[in-house]
Amino acid sequence: MKQFDYVRPATVAEAVAAAVQPGAAYLAAGTNLLDLMKGGVSRPDRLVDVTHLDGLDAIETLADGSLRIGALVSNADLAHDPVFARSYPAVAEALLSGASAQLRNAATVGGNLLQRTRCAYFYDTASRCNKREAGSGCDARDGENRGHAVLGWSDSCIATHPSDFCVPLVALDAVVEIEGKSGRREIALDELHCLPGNSPERESALEPGDIVVAVRLPPAARGFAAHARYLKVRDRTSYAFAVVSAAAALRIENGKVAEARIALGGVAAKPWRVRAAEDVLRGVAPTADAFQEAAWRALTDAKPSGDNAFKIELARRIVMRALTLAAAGTPARLPALPASPFAATSGAIHA
């Protein structure tokens, strides 16, 4: 392994100062970064370990009713926090559908947001990859690309963002709090990840030294708790990334959809919010026809980037199903197989 410096700052300000230099990378639980380093995909000169920073591991309800989640809260702790799971059930379900219990115990909120794509050519240093090495080409384009993007891709990159967590978060208008060399700022999660365009090497809105300190869910996000689901289709029952996933959240008043939120995962370089589909549902009864219409609207811009046309039809069906499940109501308990099509029949076997 390449030799690197390891620093463990005591404060966020020190962290930013240490990470602003070229070649530095933040290290959280390392479940993604260390794999990338072992494979020679990331070769940082300096690791800035954020796991000992104070004050980033709290889950707090703010005065205005929003919820603030520190960047170091583990995926498992967040999902199992009873208040959190009750208030944002689709987010808890998404978290618990990701990776494995061991990984969720380690992985952090910040790391989950900023995890890198699983494009096999990105991981394979012998392949050309514009994201890993700007301008080198994209071997996924004509390669084994069954799992690649059907929305928002460009000829320079067809990779997807693999996070489950981000999908319901973006549906619920989550906000990301960032600390950088010019102080603190916040952006919508929807703005955090970049579409590839001509510069897929730029993956997020973060500038050098920027650290995610927290994720916030606005007060309105709680309004969907009664009708919110995450659904994730995968190649095996657990411990697999989404082939396609969707979060659906509804606010139903007097038998009508007052507001709908829909986002897709596994289809683009970012969690894919589909506002046009949400609009279809505003003010209408939650019927199969309406959901069908929304599902069509959600994928109107989709096009295959390779051997993956099936993902478009699959995504439609997933949106349809996720909306149907959400309309039926959030289950009192999280299913043993969270987000699985087999959730309802899973018996005692846990993911």
Binding site: A126, R236, F342
Partner: protein, 753 residues
């Protein structure tokens, strides 16, 4: 010799014989407490770490390696390359016997497949060696690689598997097809698969002058030893290999591959002990895999559902530099009573590491195609798949006409079907749903695997304190040899298992052959059995020839060994203990050797196979296409069951592997470069716990007087066969979609909703 403290749980105190008892693993405590030493757990004073650099191209030549940069890296001690390496005694390209496969030992700059070893970096730490390998920054002269089942010209290999004829014929297949009322003609594809044992290939090695000490997982201690001896030009007795535990082998640790040889060379080069462990992704190349296949089945049946012809052709691949051909079509030789059978193979050469034996080589790939085709035929005849199989039940082995040495398959069908509730199955597909609206499908497959025997030797001794010793260089790959073979040993010398010191797992012990072909328990067991009988006979000679003994004059045939005593067969009240016999004779111990080997006369007369019937239930989301197996029942007849607990685990493992074959496993190969794009356990899918449903294994009683003295057939591989097809057939029954390319994927099932 590692000190092994094998224990058996007190909960299993037994009365009477050891064979047949469900003992827990005697090495279980060692394993769960982390005391079982796997090869890579060894750490020697002064040891260096070796890391292999592998090729990123699949075909061409290495034109440069930046050895200077690697050596400049702190901690790097040396870099072994084709230009800088110890000389081997013979060219590794020479095949000195059919069980020698060509390997890469840095003999040239040529690159024949992706992930081929091209250099070895030796350093004080693993990290330094790893970085050194990166710094080599190889440059290549690349040639277009041959990739996939349609690469290049196809040819008919001289043999498939281990010396099987490429083609077999019985009767007139074309006439049989022409006369058939129903015909199917279907082509199935199976992908390349990799063994992916949990424990990567590893070696810790030390030279002491011309003596060589090796810790390395191997399924074939003596074969490996012989290969090392010829490659390094040293005598067999100068080499000592320890392999007390394997973290799985599945065929990939059977024969000596290149990586451990590189470890031994590295140790020679630097004159210090070396540890070399493959990274997971490096296991996708130099240590074998299951070749992909494309199989065409043409089957005919008459108006009553009786087969008229079975034609099974398999296309497979081998490497560009060696020969191993997955004998997939041979699966059609033994199961169904067609009057006309033709099996044939052809192959193309591709830029891949040479394919090898992988758990049920040929049987697994052939079985999923054959069982799918039989299912398709049953449907074409409008028959229940079990009724169809019973109608075509083979009373003698179809291809050879030989009677079976034993065959309780009918009982497997009956008991499996009853346990599963098969009678309630709808004939038509896509008829069943569960409460949640998921499609439910039921499928079945027949399991079969040959009952093989290799050659083995064992040494038994009875000591003056009345305890026994049994020595055999057997291999525990996790299957439970430490336990099952010790059970056989205990019965062989008429002692309780805790009174027998059972030694295995090192190369200085008698040759146990290879742990493969599901034949290890049978082969090593037969050797142990005969060594035990021989040592007891010697003991009996001492006693019956001595007038001071109560057994005097009883004659060999007249005594039996039980619980550490010899007793008269005609009068069980008369006898004496082993200790008494030896004490009186004034000898410290008696010892004897015994062998296990196939019986050619019996093989000439009988077809010998284990059988089974597997029933699977799957659920499929009708719109989303995701599949989950919800239930499996397997009923197997495999002769004598030495340890029901171990056997059940083997069959569970096989059934899970079968499910994996049908639904998950596939090495995704980039069609342009020949590189494997999912060479890690995150993306090379095998079933996880949530994929594995309640499994039910029934072992059907089967007495086989012909296979070997103990009547043992193997159980290591049969579980995959039948299971893969059962799952695939259940997917069809759930959805009405017949998928013929494995693994079955979500998109295959999205066509309907």
């Amino acid at each position: 010799m590692p000190e092994l403290n094998l224990t058996s749980a007190p909960a299993h105190i037994r009365h009477g014989s050891n064979i047949g008892q469900p003992l827990t693993r005697r090495d279980g405590v060692l394993k769960v407490t982390g005391q079982a030493t796997y090869a890579a757990d060894n750490h020697l004073p002064g040891m260096l770490f070796a890391v292999i650099a592998v090729s990123s191209i699949a075909h061409g030549r290495v034109v440069s390696l930046d050895v200077t940069a690697a050596k400049r890296h702190p901690g790097v001690v040396d870099v072994m390359t084709p230009d800088h390496k110890p000389q081997l005694a013979i060219d590794p390209e020479i095949k000195t016997n059919p069980f020698v496969f060509r390997m890469e030992a840095l003999q040239s700059n040529e690159v024949r497949y992706a992930n081929q070893p091209i250099a070895v970096v030796i350093a004080e730490t693993l990290e330094a060696a790893t970085e050194g390998a990166v710094l080599l920054a190889p440059r290549y002269e690349s040639l277009p690689p041959l990739v996939g089942l349609d690469a290049g010209e196809s040819f008919v290999p001289p043999v498939v598997g281990v010396g099987n004829p490429t083609e077999n014929h019985l009767g007139d297949v074309e006439a049989g097809l022409a006369s058939a009322e129903k015909q199917i003609d279907a082509t199935y594809e199976t992908p390349p698969q990799y063994h992916n044992a949990m424990e990567p290939h590893a070696i810790v090695v030390q030279w002491d002058g011309d003596r060589l000490s090796v810790d390395m997982p191997t399924q074939g201690l003596v074969l490996s030893l012989a290969r090392i001896a010829e490659l390094f030009g040293i005598a067999h007795d100068k080499i000592h290999i320890r392999s007390p535990f394997l973290g799985g082998g599945f065929g990939s640790k059977g024969l000596m591959g290149g990586p451990p040889v590189l470890g031994i060379m590295a140790a020679k080069l630097v004159g210090r002990p070396i540890k070399l462990v493959l990274r997971r992704e490096q296991m996708y190349g130099p240590v074998g895999h299951r070749a992909p296949t494309r199989q065409r089945l043409r089957i005919g049946a008459d108006g009553e559902g009786r087969l008229t012809a079975l034609d099974h052709h398999a296309r497979t691949v081998s490497s560009t530099f060696d020969d191993f051909y997955e004998p997939a079509a041979d699966a059609s030789h033994t199961l169904y009573a067609a009057p006309a059978i033709r099996t044939s193979h052809d192959a193309v050469r591709v830029n891949t590491g040479t394919p090898l034996f992988m758990r049920a080589p040929g049987e697994a790939t052939g079985s999923i195609a054959l069982e799918s085709a039989i299912d398709e035929m049953a449907w074409a005849c409008g028959m229940d798949p079990l009724a169809f199989r019973l109608k075509n039940y083979a009373e003698v082995e179809p291809i050879s006409g030989k009677p079976f040495s034993s065959k309780a398959l009918r009982a497997c069908y009956e008991q499996g079907a009853a346990r599963f509730g098969w009678a309630k199955r709808s004939l038509q597909a896509r008829q069943m749903r569960d409460d949640a609206g998921l499609l439910v499908g039921w499928g079945m497959g027949t399991a079969t695997f040959p009952a093989l025997m290799f050659q083995a030797e064992a040494r038994a001794a009875i000591r003056r304190d009345g305890t026994g010793v049994m020595e055999i260089g057997a291999h525990d790959m996790g299957q439970g040899a430490w336990t099952a073979l010790a059970q056989i040993a205990a019965d062989a010398v008429g002692l309780d298992i805790d009174r027998v010191t059972f030694k295995a797992g090192t190369s200085d012990l008698p040759d146990a052959g290879i742990a493969g072909g599901s034949a290890h328990t049978a082969t090593a067991g037969a050797a142990i059995h005969s060594a035990g009988a021989a040592v007891i006979a010697k003991l009996a000679d001492l006693a019956t020839g001595d007038e001071r003994s109560p057994l005097f004059g009883a004659g060999n045939a007249g005594v039996i060994a039980r619980d550490g005593r010899l007793i008269r067969r005609d009068d069980e009240s008369r006898g004496e203990s082993y200790a008494e016999i030896l004490a009186r004779a004034g000898v410290a111990e008696v010892e004897a050797r015994g062998t296990g080997a196939p019986n050619p006369a019996a093989m000439e007369e009988y077809a010998m196979h284990a059988h089974g019937a597997v029933f699977a239930e799957v659920k499929v989301d009708p719109e989303l296409g995701q599949i989950r197996v919800s239930r499996m029942v397997g009923a197997f007849a495999a002769g004598r069951i030495v340890n029901p607990r171990m056997v059940q685990s083997q069959l569970f493992g096989g059934m899970i592997w079968g499910m994996s074959f049908a639904l998950h496993e596939e090495a995704i190969t980039d069609r342009r470069t020949g590189r494997i794009m999912n060479a890690n356990l995150g993306e090379y899918h095998v079933p996880v716990n949530a994929d594995v449903p309640p499994l039910d294994v029934i072992t059907v009683d089967e007495h086989d007087p012909h296979v070997n003295a103990l009547g043992i057939k193997g159980v290591g591989e049969i579980g995959i066969t039948g299971s893969a097809g059962a799952v695939a057939n259940a997917v069809w029954h759930a959805t009405g979609v017949r998928v013929r390319r494995f693994p079955i994927r979500i998109e295959d099932l999205l066509t309907q909703s």
